[in-house]
């Protein structure tokens, strides 16, 4: 049975694809705008809990890079218990203003999973939703399934998430996908 939340947190009519803001970026982005922004805290991981309606074997992880790249990132996926399924490991950020792909073969189970991203510096940028700061409460991030963890590069074997806690959060756009064929 498809979860009542499937369409909001993961599926939304698509298959084999999970993204950090899928289904909710219109809530986060001011006038549906994305912008290039620095990673605010080095080694502080960002988590996005999404619902995967159907198991699939991913082929790639990706991040939407901004106008400046620097250092290394790690992208991972965790199961419903917070145990890491797979991650890219520390990977050099490369390619400005484009999607950076990293091959990663793993079976993503159906159900709740957590996508994770961390960058090891505050010079590199990613595309982020242009959040309207003045009226977007920080607890809204919690409600939408976002969290963070400090000193998390490379990504840990298990999650210990905490609330984002800030009034302005530059949440990168990243995800995992099974590409054709």
């Amino acid at each position: 049975m498809v979860s009542a939340y499937a369409h909001r947190f993961g599926a939304a009519g698509r298959v084999d694809w999970l993204e950090s803001h899928q289904g909710v970026s219109d809530l986060l982005a001011n006038a549906q705008q994305y912008t290039s922004a620095v990673y605010q805290t080095a080694n502080n991981a960002k988590y996005s809990r999404v619902f995967n309606p159907r198991a699939f074997r991913m082929t790639h992880a990706y991040v939407q890079n901004g106008t400046v790249v620097s250092g290394n990132f790690d992208i991972g996926v965790y199961d419903a218990r917070g145990v890491k399924i797979a991650s890219t490991g520390s990977t050099a950020q490369a390619g400005t203003s484009t999607i950076q792909w990293v091959a990663l073969d793993a079976l993503i189970p159906a159900g709740w999973v957590t996508l994770a991203f961390v960058l090891d510096n505050t010079t590199g940028t990613t595309m982020v939703p242009s959040t309207p700061v003045t009226h977007f409460p920080t607890r809204m991030y919690d409600a939408l399934g976002f969290a963070s963890e400090g000193t998390a590069h490379p990504l840990p074997a298990t999650l210990t998430p905490v609330t984002l806690g800030a009034t302005t959060v530059n949440l990168p756009i990243w995800g995992v996908v099974k590409r054709w064929p």
Binding site: A6, H7, Q33
Partner: protein, 185 residues
């Protein structure tokens, strides 16, 4: 139980699947203009798009957005994954393209019971003359991977079994097509 968000993100209309469903936030960000005319990606080269159908329904009609120039024939179809390939559940069969910008719609040769789960819609033109309307999205190659677009050459009319590869011919944006449970008119 129906999610209160279904209408918002994916099922604005029950019994309908279309190539841009669930991507409202993405298209707002990426799309430069309204859909525009483009020539065929190549005679007999079919385009495929993966979708997720949350509820079974019986489909009777498919559509795509045709462009200003007619000529050639089109075929629209729906597939289900069967291992490493796709098995066709139904299609419109070959039909002539009508000149003029509109949603070209055609009944399926037989109604199709669209199952829950992964579904693949397909579109092909028989020549390189007729135009279709595409979403105007620059550098679409990367998004094609995310949005589930594939392609296959020598695929007119649409084959009973298909083995698409990653799409590389829609770098300026994808066509718009869909399948519905109600016949127009």
């Amino acid at each position: 139980m129906m999610s209160p968000y279904e209408d918002r993100v994916a099922l604005a209309r029950p019994g309908m699947l279309w190539s841009t469903m669930g991507l409202l936030d993405k298209t707002d960000y990426l799309v430069n203009t309204s859909p525009i005319d483009t020539v065929s990606v190549g005679a007999n080269t079919a385009l495929f798009v993966k979708l997720y159908n949350p509820r079974p329904f019986r489909a009777t009609t498919m559509f795509y957005y045709s462009g200003t120039t007619g000529g050639d024939n089109f075929d629209l179809g729906i597939y289900r994954r069967n291992g490493a390939s796709l098995t066709r559940l139904g299609s419109t069969g070959s039909s002539s393209v009508t000149a003029g910008v509109h949603a070209e719609r055609e009944p399926l040769t037989s109604p199709v019971d669209v199952p829950e789960g992964e579904i693949v819609l397909a579109f092909v033109l028989s020549g390189a003359l007729a135009e279709f309307q595409r979403q105007d999205i620059a550098a679409f190659e990367d998004y094609a991977h995310l949005w589930g677009w594939g392609q296959q050459a020598s695929a007119f009319p649409l084959p009973a079994t298909a083995t698409p590869v990653a799409a590389t011919l829609i770098s300026s944006g994808p066509p718009i097509l869909g399948i519905v449970d109600l016949a127009f008119d």
